[in-house]
Every structure is written in C-alpha cells, then in structure tokens.
C-alpha cells in the first residue's frame, strides 16, 4: 500500500468562491504542519482528504485509498475537526464508545480502547459527564481522544491546540511527537506556529487557496532566496564582528543581541557569508561560541511568504 497522502491538481470551488486551487502535494509519514492565514484553505484541504467535501477537480489518495471509500479510509484515519459541537446529551464515554462500535468491534474491545484513549488525553475522570458541561479544553481533548481511539495510521488535526491551557498544550504536543515517532502520518493545522514548528518534519504553506511552499522548514527557508537570512552568532566581540562583515559587503543588517554577547546578522548570500565567517574565525580576533540560523522557523517563513506574522501562543 502507498504510504503517502497525495493531492493531484486538486481544486475546490464553493459555487464561485475558491476553496483551494490546483494543489499538488505528496505528504510522506511524519508530522506535517499546514500553515496559512484564516480562509487560506487549510480546513478545505483537510475536509477534502477526509471526504467531507468533494473536489471540483483533481484526485486525492490517502495511503492508496480514495476519500469516498469511507469504510476502509476511516479504519486507518482519524480526524479531529475544528467544529466545536457534539451530538446532543452525550457523555464523553458514550461519544468515544459509540464511534468505536461503528467500527464493528466487540463491546469488550471498544471498552478497552475507550479507556485507553481517554487516559491518553487525561480525561478519564470526566468520562461519565455530559460533554455539554465540559470546558473548551476538555471538548478539544475528547475530540482528540475520539480521533485516536481506533489507532489510526493517519491523524488529521484541525487547530488541535485551540482552547488548551499551556499544560494541556505541552501534553498534546508530546502526544503528537510520540505518535509521529511511531511512524504515523500527522497533518496538523495550527496558528500557534512557535509550538507546532518545534515538532514538524515538514511544513505546507497555503494562502488564498494556493500552495505557496512545501518541504522541511530548512528547505523552504532556503528556497526563499530573495529574503536575506538572519544568523545569530554568539561571540565575545559582536560589534567588531558586525563591522568586519559589513566591510566585506556580506551583511545587509546587524543587530546586537540583548545580552550583548551575540549579534544577529542578515545576509543575502548565505554561502559566501559562512565562508567569510570562517575567515574571520581563523584570524582569531573574535572568539565565536555558536553560529545558528535565526529565522528558519515556521513563523519567519510564514512572515516572508505570506506577509503577516502568523499567530503565536
């Protein structure tokens, strides 16, 4: 079976309104983050791959399965949608147990998996209460529990950190990392870029229904050649270093670090920049502790490519 999620020239129009246009993507296993402003088409993309909406044109395949093949697709896929609503009058336990029973499993098996998933999101104590009485964070957790209860191989999470307190966010992120390590496909859309950024293997940027960039964060950043890259150099004489780099014309901007023990340098030619930096280091005038890119995170890429700062926690 194919282990990729594939979008082939997929377009979706809601009447005359564009959802997504000519998206071609191939997503391998691991954690992939969908990044884009509101209305950019992130949820449409997720709904397309789960069959909640049908493409106007193009083809979608999830591990070799078509989204219209619900009986097979949803045995391997769990979707935690962003809709914050539940069937009326239902408890957390019933919600997960009923959904597992629809997989055709025995009651004993469904009970076991229900307990397991509720414990995974630390909601065991509230399982018997009606969902209507849950806090927003608890509702988010119970949706996540339902999506992972049947041990899917693909997990689609639409804004999974919304409404969670910092502790619950950290727990959820740890859970996503664990699932990613297990070889699962995780497709996450989130506005909290500085958190999902840390765990993503790949990033997909979309804006206005169009695919802007995709790949690992470093790859995507490298492709944005017209934007100068920023590098943080920890050293004992940051001002001297900045002056030297300016003198050889490989710097377009310099900013001292707040603690005075480093400098942010911006360059348009990173290869030449590193070569010059090696030369300065060899001269021995400046002692360098570390050199690290300062803007190859999702938030910076988002800012470069889409033009706004994106959300943060």
């Amino acid at each position: 079976m194919n282990d990729q999620i594939i979008f082939e020239n997929v377009s979706k129009f809601y009447g005359e309104v564009l959802g997504v246009n000519r998206i071609s993507l191939s997503i391998p296993p691991g954690i992939t983050t969908l990044v884009g402003p509101n209305g950019s088409g992130k949820t449409t993309l997720m709904n397309l791959m789960t069959g909640l909406v049908q493409p106007s044109s193009g083809r979608i395949s999830v591990m070799g399965l078509s989204p219209v093949n619900a009986p097979e697709l949803f045995c391997i896929l769990g979707y935690c949608a962003q809709f914050d609503s539940f069937p009326r009058g239902i408890t957390g336990w019933q919600f997960i147990f009923d959904s597992l029973m629809l997989h055709g499993m025995s009651e004993a098996e469904a009970v076991e998996l229900t307990i397991e998933s509720l414990e995974r999101v630390q909601l065991g104590d509230a399982a018997g209460r009606k969902i209507a009485g849950y806090s927003k964070g608890m509702r988010q957790k119970v949706r996540l529990a339902q999506a992972i209860a049947h041990h899917p191989r693909v997990l689609v999470l639409d804004e999974p950190l919304n409404g969670l307190d910092p502790m619950a966010r950290a727990e959820s992120i740890a859970l996503f990392q664990e699932l990613g390590r297990q070889g699962m496909h995780l497709l996450i859309s989130s506005h909290i870029l500085d958190e999902v950024d840390r765990i993503s293997d790949r990033v997909v940027l979309i804006a206005g229904g169009y695919l802007v960039a995709e790949g690992s964060i470093q790859q995507v950043r490298h492709e944005v050649r017209e934007k100068p890259m920023q590098v943080l150099i920890r050293c004992d004489r940051p001002a001297l270093l900045a002056a030297k780099m300016f003198s050889v014309n490989h710097c377009v901007e310099a900013r001292l670090h707040a603690d005075g023990k480093g400098v942010f340098l911006r360059t348009g030619d990173i290869d030449q920049f590193y070569s010059m930096l090696n030369g300065i280091a060899a001269e021995g005038l400046v002692k360098m502790e570390s050199v690290a890119p300062a803007d190859d995170d999702a938030s910076a890429i988002y800012q470069y490519l889409i033009g706004s700062s994106g959300g943060t926690s």
Binding site: N47, L52, A70, A81, F83, P87, R88, M101, L102, H103
Partner: protein
C-alpha cells in the same frame, strides 16, 4: 444477460453484510435513544397522545350505551384518518425525520457519522429505520391506547365487539396504516431535509398536495401517501363540509395494491435519498 445477473449476484454476496448489520444495529440504537428520550421529543409525544387524552376524558365523563359502539367506531376511524394521518403522523414524522440529517447539520454534529467507517447508504438507511421505529412506537402505542380506551367503556359489549367482532381486525388495519404512514412520510421528510435547508415550507406543500390529492387525476393520486392509506381504512369515514374533501374516494383500489404502491413509492424516494447522501458535503457555515 445471465452473465450480468450472475455478476451482480456475486457482487452482492461479496459485500460485508455482517459488518453493515452490526453498524446498522448500533446506529439504530443511538438514534432511537435520541429520538425518544430527549426533552425535544416532548412535542411528538404530545401529537401522538392528545387524542388518547381526549378519549380518556370521554371515557370517564360520557355514558356508553351498547348501541353507540358503531358511532364510536366511526369516531375512531375519523381520528385515525383525519387526525393521525393528516396531522399527527405528518407533523410527528416531519419533526423526527428532519432531525436525522438536517437537525444534525444545524447542530454541527453530522460529520462525526461521516467520519466513521460506515457506508453512507448504511448510515442513511439506519437513520431511516431508527426514525420509523421511533414514530411507529409512539403513534402505534397511541392508536392501541385510543382503541382500548374507546371500547373499554362499553363493558361486555365492547369486549365482544373487539374479540368476537371486527374490532381486532380494525386495530390491525389501523396499526398497518400507521406503519405505512410513518414509512411514507418518513422517507419523504428525510429526503426533503437533505434537499432544503428548512424543509418546513416544502412539507407544507406536501400537506397541501395531500389535501387536494383526492380530486386530482388518478395518475397524480399515485404520488401521495394519504391516498394509498385511504384505501386501507377498515371503516369508511363520512364527512361533511371541508372534511369531505379529505375523504373522497375517486377510484377504489385493493388493499394489497395500495400497500404495494406505497412501498414502491417509499423505495423510489429512499433510492434517490441514498444517491444524494453519497455526494452530501459538510459545509456548516453555508448550511
């Protein structure tokens, strides 16, 4: 031709019927629970049991001489034909069956079903069966209660009418009519709720169509639930004034032909509903 039929039969036997049966049973259990045991179902209970309450008052207040049995039999037939079929079951089914798909779209919870490993046709038909069970349980028990209370006041004469006379046969016919009415209106309202954001105006058109149906040409009469049910009534209802329109019988049809005709109509409606559910999209913001 034989090869095509053979291929079709082979593909039928290869389908996961066992899994569908398990899924359908679970879905039906969930839906029946939601249809019958929530506060929102209160008004359907009211629609079903309001005649029962009136008959109970009639039982406790009025005298019941033996010669009045035939009159009360006509009254009961009138209640079934003019109240239950035209109003009670009609609006009860509108409430129950509209909620199954449209109600869940309004509550934004339908996607949970569509994200489960269940064929959409199995989902739709299970919801339909659950709606039918709920409606038949409510209106069937209401009719049975009406029947029992109607003849309870006549003492030995009433018992004799029910068990040795035509009573039980009439009850069977009423129950069969209620079952068919729930199936028929249920299928129509399920489909309407998938086609329209607010199915009530369309349901009012159906109500109007049902009202004028007896005076329409015989071909158009076949596109009506009430017209089939009228032919199954064990007791003819004589009505005057505007009510006469509701009881006109233009073309006598045998009971079997009427039941079969209605079942064919239901199958056709469900077939189209299954076709529509395959392409149903979740767009809560625009729905």
């Amino acid at each position: 031709m034989m090869e095509v039929v053979g291929k079709f039969l082979r593909s039928l036997t290869q389908q996961p019927w066992g899994l569908w049966w398990i899924q359908a049973r679970r879905l039906i259990r969930i839906e029946v629970r939601r249809n019958l045991f929530t506060w929102k179902a209160g008004w359907v209970y009211f629609l079903a049991f309001i005649p029962t309450l009136i008959i109970l008052i009639h039982l406790s207040v009025d005298r019941h001489p033996a010669f009045a049995i035939s009159e009360d039999t006509s009254v009961l037939a009138g209640i079934v034909q003019l109240y239950y079929i035209r109003l009670g079951v009609f609006f009860g089914c509108l409430g129950i069956f509209s909620r199954l798909i449209r109600g869940e779209m309004i509550e934004r919870s339908l996607h949970f079903y569509l994200l489960s490993p269940v064929r959409r046709e199995v989902l739709l038909l299970s919801k339909f069966v659950a709606g039918c069970i709920s409606a038949v349980l409510l209106f069937g028990s209401a009719i049975a209660a009406d029947f029992a209370l109607m003849y309870a006041g006549f003492g030995a004469a009433g018992t004799d009418y029910v068990f040795n006379g035509p009573g039980l046969g009439q009850l069977e016919s009423y129950l069969a009519i209620i079952v068919l009415a729930c199936l028929g209106y249920g299928a129509i309202f399920l489909l309407l709720s998938m086609m329209f954001r607010n199915p009530t105006p369309a349901a009012m058109l159906v109500l109007g169509w049902e009202a004028i149906n007896p005076v329409l040409p015989s071909l158009l009469q076949k596109l009506s639930v009430a017209s089939y049910l009228r032919h199954l009534m064990p007791v003819s209802v004589s009505a005057h004034g505007i009510f006469a329109l509701l009881t006109v019988e233009t073309e006598p049809v045998s009971a079997w032909a009427a039941a079969l005709g209605l079942l064919l109509l239901i199958i056709a409606v469900l077939f189209y509903a299954c076709y529509r559910v395959r392409t149903l999209e979740i767009r809560y913001t625009t729905d």
